[in-house]
C-alpha cells in the first residue's frame, strides 16, 4: 500500500510528510519557547513527542524530517549560545544526546506503527477471505438445494407408488370381503352390493391419482428459463462423475459450443437428462465384454436442439422398445417404471420429442428434441 502511494504521487506524499512534521514541530516549539523561562535548562521533551507523533502519523520519512527540523530548531533556539547555529563545547554532548534520543524515538514510533499496520492488514485480508469463503459456501448451498430438487424425482415416484397402493389395498381387501359376503349362507347380498360400490370408488380414486400426476407434467405450463443446454449437461456430468468412476463408466460429452439457448423449465430438463444418464449407467451394470461408455452429445440449428444419450449397455429388445415409455414399465429389478414416462411428458410439455433406438455397435440411444424459439417470443 505504501509503495503504491509512493509511486502514485511522490510530491503529494512528500508535502504530506513535511506538513505532518511541521505541524507537530510547531506544536512542540511554541510551548517550549514559553516554558523556557520557567526552567534553568532547555525544556526539550516536547520535541520527542513531536518526533514520535510525526513518525506515527507520517511514517519513517516524516519522523526523520521531524528529527532534522527539531535538531535545527533546538540548535538555534535552545542550545547555548542561543539564537545561533554554533554550539558551545559544554553543550556538545547534551546536543548529541538529544539528537540520538530523537532518532531512537522516531525509529521506535515508526516501527511500532508499521507492525500495527501489518496486523491491521492481516485482519482485513482475513475478513475478505472469510466473506469470500462465505459467499462460496452460500453458492454451494444453493446448488445443493437445487440438486435436491432434481433428485426429488425418486421421492416423487415413491410417493406416487404410495398414493396408488392405498386405494389398491382397499380394492383387494374389499374384494376379499365381498367374496366372504357372497359365500355366507345365505349370501349377504346387501353387504356384497355395498362392498362392490366401495371397490368402484377406490378404483376410481386410483385412476384419479394417475390423472393428477399426468396433469402435473402435461397441462401445467412449465416455468420458463432461458437456458443453455450445454450448461445443463455439464452440470450433470460433474454431478455424476464420482458415481461413474465408482461404477467404472467413462462419461464423455460431445457438445457444440454456442448452441442456441432454449426456453425451458430448468429443473424439469435436468430431471430428464439426469434420468436418461442414470438409465444409461444402469444399463451398463452387466456389461463386461466392452468398455462402459456414456456419451452425451448436443447438436442444433436455428429450429431445434437434439440431445443424445448413448450407452454401451445391454440395449433394448423389440418388446421393451415399445413399452419403455409406458408408466410402470421397468426392466430394473427395483425400478418403479415412472422415469421415462415422466421424462417423455416433460419433453412433450416443452413441445419436443423423446425416443429410443438401438445403438448399432450395441447399447441404446435415447434422444430428445427441443424447439428453438427466437428470443423476442419469450415474453
Amino acid at each position: 500500500m505504501q509503495s503504491s502511494a509512493r509511486t502514485g504521487g511522490t510530491t503529494r506524499s512528500l508535502i504530506r510528510h513535511c506538513g505532518i512534521a511541521l505541524f507537530f514541530l510547531v506544536a512542540a516549539f511554541v510551548p517550549t519557547l514559553l516554558l523556557q523561562r520557567l526552567f534553568p535548562y532547555p525544556f526539550l521533551f516536547l520535541f520527542f513527542g513531536a518526533v514520535m507523533a510525526s513518525a506515527w502519523f507520517g511514517g519513517k520519512a516524516a519522523g526523520l524530517l521531524a528529527v532534522v527540523l527539531s535538531t535545527v530548531l533546538v540548535d538555534y533556539f535552545f542550545v547555548p549560545p542561543f539564537y545561533s547555529f554554533s554550539i558551545s563545547t559544554t553543550a556538545e554532548a547534551y546536543f548529541a544526546a538529544f539528537v540520538a534520543s530523537a532518532l531512537v524515538a522516531s525509529w521506535i514510533s515508526s516501527a511500532k506503527k508499521k507492525s500495527e499496520e501489518a496486523l491491521k492488514d492481516a485482519l482485513d485480508q482475513l475478513e475478505v477471505r472469510v466473506s469470500e469463503r462465505t459467499a462460496e459456501l452460500m453458492k454451494t448451498q444453493t446448488e445443493l438445494a437445487h440438486l435436491s430438487q432434481v433428485l426429488s424425482m425418486g421421492e416423487l415416484t415413491a410417493s406416487i407408488a404410495h398414493e396408488i397402493n392405498q386405494p389398491l389395498t382397499a380394492v383387494v381387501t374389499h374384494g376379499h370381503a365381498c367374496s366372504e359376503w357372497l359365500s355366507a349362507n345365505p349370501p349377504n347380498l346387501e353387504k356384497a352390493q355395498q362392498t362392490v360400490q366401495r371397490i368402484i370408488q377406490d378404483g376410481t380414486r386410483a385412476g384419479a391419482v394417475l390423472a393428477r400426476i399426468r396433469s402435473l407434467f402435461k397441462k401445467e405450463a412449465p416455468a420458463k428459463d432461458w437456458l443453455d443446454i450445454n450448461e445443463v449437461i455439464h452440470e450433470l456430468t460433474t454431478f455424476l462423475r464420482d458415481d461413474a468412476i465408482r461404477r467404472r463408466i467413462a462419461i464423455r460429452t460431445d457438445l457444440v459450443p454456442g448452441l442456441p439457448k432454449v426456453t425451458a423449465d430448468r429443473v424439469q430438463l435436468q430431471q430428464v437428462v439426469l434420468n436418461l444418464m442414470m438409465n444409461g449407467m444402469d444399463a451398463m451394470a452387466e456389461t463386461s465384454d466392452r468398455s462402459k461408455e456414456l456419451l452425451i452429445s448436443a447438436r442444433g440449428d436455428e429450429s431445434e436442439l437434439v440431445v443424445r444419450v448413448e450407452d454401451s449397455g445391454m440395449g433394448l429388445d423389440a418388446e421393451a422398445n415399445e413399452k419403455i415409455f409406458d408408466p410402470f414399465f421397468t426392466t430394473k429389478p427395483h425400478g418403479i417404471g415412472m422415469g421415462l414416462s415422466i421424462s417423455r411428458s416433460i419433453i412433450e410439455a416443452h413441445e419436443g420429442r423423446l425416443w429410443a433406438s438401438p445403438r448399432p455397435s450395441g447399447g441404446a440411444i435415447f434422444q430428445f428434441t427441443l424447439p428453438v424459439h427466437p428470443r423476442d417470443s419469450n415474453g
Partner: protein, 207 residues
C-alpha cells in the same frame, strides 16, 4: 366382562383402507373398531375382551413403530399386526423384535391378515386368562396370615412338618394346623396343586 366379544382395532390414516379392513373383518364375523391416528386409539377406551391391533407403519403424528414402543413402556400388552406399503428388512426386524405378531405388505391377502388377527386374539386371550388366574390366586394369598404364608413358602420347597417347625421355632402340631389352613384358604386339594399355584404367583409375589 359385560362385553366379551373380541375386538380388532385398526389404525390407518387412509379412510378407504380402514374401511376395507373393517369390512373384511366384519364379513368373517369379527368386530373392528377403526381410528385414523395412534392418538385417537390411545384416547379410546379399551374393552376387557380379547383384542389385537392392526397398525399402519406410516402415520401422521406418532408412527406405528414408535407407538409400539409407547405401548410397551405404558405396560399395555396388546398384540400388534403391522401393515405397510413400503416396508424394508430393518423395519420388519425392528417390529418383530419388539413382539409384533406379523408384518404385512399392502396390499395383503385375506388369509394372511385373518391368520395374524386370530393368532393375535389367541395370544391376548391366553394372556388375559393367565392374568385372571393369577389375580384369583393373589386374592387367596392375601387372605393368609403372615405365619401361614411363611409355612406355605416352606411347604412348597418340599420340607416336612418337622423340619418346618424346626426352622420357624414351632411345634409340629402347630405347623400341621397352619398347613391345613393354607390348603383350605388356597383351595388346593393336594400338595402338588399348591406347588403349581406358588409357581404361578412367584414372579408377582416376590416383588
Amino acid at each position: 366382562m359385560a362385553d366379551a366379544r373380541p375386538t380388532i382395532f385398526v389404525v390407518d390414516d387412509d379412510a378407504s383402507v380402514r374401511d376395507a379392513i373393517s369390512n373384511l373383518l366384519e364379513s368373517v364375523g369379527l368386530r373392528a373398531k377403526v381410528f385414523d391416528s395412534t392418538e385417537a386409539f390411545w384416547k379410546a377406551p379399551r374393552p376387557s375382551a380379547p383384542s389385537c391391533l392392526v397398525l399402519d407403519v406410516r402415520l401422521p403424528g406418532v408412527g406405528g413403530l414408535e407407538f409400539q414402543e409407547q405401548l410397551a413402556k405404558a405396560n399395555v400388552s396388546i398384540p400388534v399386526i403391522f401393515i405397510t406399503a413400503h416396508g424394508d428388512v430393518p423395519m420388519t426386524s425392528r417390529a418383530m423384535k419388539a413382539g409384533a405378531i406379523e408384518f404385512l405388505m399392502k396390499p395383503f391377502q385375506k388369509e394372511d391378515l385373518l391368520a395374524a388377527v386370530r393368532q393375535g386374539l389367541d395370544r391376548d386371550r391366553i394372556r388375559r386368562d393367565e392374568q385372571a388366574e393369577i389375580a384369583v390366586l393373589q386374592a387367596r394369598v392375601d387372605q393368609l396370615t403372615s405365619r401361614e404364608r411363611e409355612v406355605m413358602d416352606l411347604v412348597v420347597t418340599g420340607l416336612i412338618n418337622k423340619e418346618i417347625g424346626a426352622q420357624l421355632g414351632l411345634s409340629e402340631v402347630t405347623v400341621k394346623a397352619h398347613r391345613s389352613h393354607v390348603m383350605q384358604k388356597m383351595e388346593a386339594s393336594s400338595l402338588a396343586e399348591l406347588v403349581r399355584m406358588s409357581d404361578k404367583l412367584k414372579p408377582r409375589e416376590r416383588r
